[in-house]
């Protein structure tokens, strides 16, 4: 074997070592979900066993997970759509008119600890009788999704060549038309990316739902957390439930993986 070949083999061995940790945790999660309660507490841990789908069935039938998945889906979708609707024009304006002060406001929103929102919002929502409603949760999720969408979209709109818009203006388009007909279609990729990132962050949000949701609006992160709070930890149930709630996120992440990296790095590379 020549030197180049040895290097190549060593490189791939290193690569395998570096991808074992991420893969193993997900594989183990699925395996916990596929084992029975008894198999889960055996030592040494079982790696080969007869898989069962009972836990997944129980998660849907006894723990009502379909409802929690729907709740999370509704909240994440509406929070994302509202954020797009009001966030896109804002991001466009900040990008085109270099409104630095406004972007600082968005940074403040990203720095504020989430716990600080809980008490004031709890008090307001209780006064308005909105505890355990979708309205309350969607409003609080805007705290996450709106700054995220604006922040990501500023970078994308800055990438739209200004010459195209100037040409359209000369042709008699008005400003709001150049936004709708030129800037928006040209940043379609960016919009899809930021919408998906926003959806994922809303889906994963735990703290707001922990305090502001109730039996009617409970989201999946709180539902899976509750597997632990009845004194005994239901390992098999956690494995199945965790697999179910992580799955949609991973599918999303998989289909837009290039764009997610692009979306996250855009901010980082531009600084």
């Amino acid at each position: 074997m020549n030197k180049a070949k040895i290097y190549k083999v060593l490189f791939y061995i290193g690569m395998i070592i570096l991808i074992i940790p991420p893969i193993f945790v997900f594989a183990w999660m699925i395996m916990i979900g596929l084992k029975t309660g008894v198999q889960n507490i055996e030592y040494p841990p079982l790696f080969i066993f007869k898989p069962t789908l009972e836990n997944f069935k129980a998660v849907f039938q006894q723990h009502n997970f379909f409802k929690y998945l729907t709740n999370s889906f509704i909240i994440a979708t509406f929070a994302t759509l509202i954020s797009l609707f009001i966030g896109l024009p804002a991001a466009y304006s900040i990008a085109r008119y270099k409104q630095r002060n406004l972007s600082i406001g968005i940074l403040v929103a990203r720095m504020t600890p989430f716990v600080s929102y809980l008490l004031p919002w709890y008090i307001v929502f209780r006064k308005l009788n909105l505890i355990d409603t979708f309205t309350a949760l969607i409003i609080t999720h805007l705290i996450i999704t709106l700054p995220m969408i604006i922040w990501l979209m500023i970078a994308f709109f800055e990438g739209v060549p200004i010459e195209l818009e100037e040409a359209a203006l000369i042709d008699g388009c008005v400003r709001s038309e150049t936004f709708l007909r030129i800037a928006l279609p040209l940043s379609k990729n960016g919009i899809i990316t930021s919408a998906i990132i926003s959806f994922i962050f809303s889906w994963n949000q735990f703290l707001f739902s922990l305090i502001l949701s109730g039996p009617k609006t409970r989201t999946v992160p709180v539902a899976v957390y509750n597997f632990m709070s009845y004194g005994k930890i239901d390992w098999a149930g956690i494995g199945a439930a965790a697999t179910i709630i992580v799955f949609p996120v991973l599918v999303f992440a998989f289909f837009v993986k290039n764009r997610i990296v692009e979306g996250l790095t855009r901010g980082a590379l531009k600084g």
């Binding site: 991420p22 945790v25 030592y43 841990p45 716990v115 008005v174």
Partner: protein, 297 residues
Amino acid sequence: MKKLKETIINFLDNHISIAFPAPAMITLFIVVIFPIIYNIYMSFSKWKIGLGSPKFIGLQNYIDAFSDPRFWNGLKVMFLFSGLSLSLEIVLGLLIAVYFNKEFKGSNFIQTIYIFPFAATPVAIALIWRIMLNPQIGVLNYFLSLFGLPGSLWISDARTVIISLVLVDVWKWTPMITLIVLAGLKSLPKDPYEAAIIDGANAFHVFSYITLPLIRPVLITALTLRSLDNLKEFDIIYTITQGGPGIASETLYLYSYKTAFSFFKAGYGSTLIIIVFLLVLLFNVALNKIRYRTEVL
């Protein structure tokens, strides 16, 4: 009717730099700024949630914080957890990115695998880690035993609990740093590298004299991005240890949550939140200064 529509469009066009951002900014003001102001006000008050109404007590909460041993513990845990996890994530993220920074079969696959940990729902992942970290029957101690190593008590021991949580955080977020740095490395100019090879520089020299200085701004931005969430880490710690054993892994942020929502001391809880906020702000201002300086150099 048509005239009205035209008037609206005209108005929008003439005031586009105000009209476009206005809805988002007003929404942000309501959802973000109002709670901040409320917290500042509350931090000067004493109020047990559900009992009577808030009483103004001036700086008393802040004075109390400085003589509260649990406050100092929270600060210590926060510094340990964030210091360890952020530095490990940056160093490992950078090294792994340098390792993968070449053309090879499967680079697309790596990218996919590395997105999964940080996209996955933190609570779900934290629960799985909690199971894996179980000292009696957890799979991590089993792996250690395969190598003939003694098992660890992990999250059940005050001495190892922070490092166990750091392990989970590093597992979840190093891949994100890797992907950001990798994208940064791909956009670096090629010339310095070619010149260095002609000059006969070795790999270590290339890394420390060319790659590192060039990638520094990206690293600092990645650190900024990461620190925004890391200093306020809640889901992982709350799910895995809830601050335990005792208060050995209770960060200041978690303590502020417990103060307000387990002990129902709204005023003191707000004070602690404000202090966390100021620390995050301070850290970011400092990072920004460093970044500015590296750009000047």
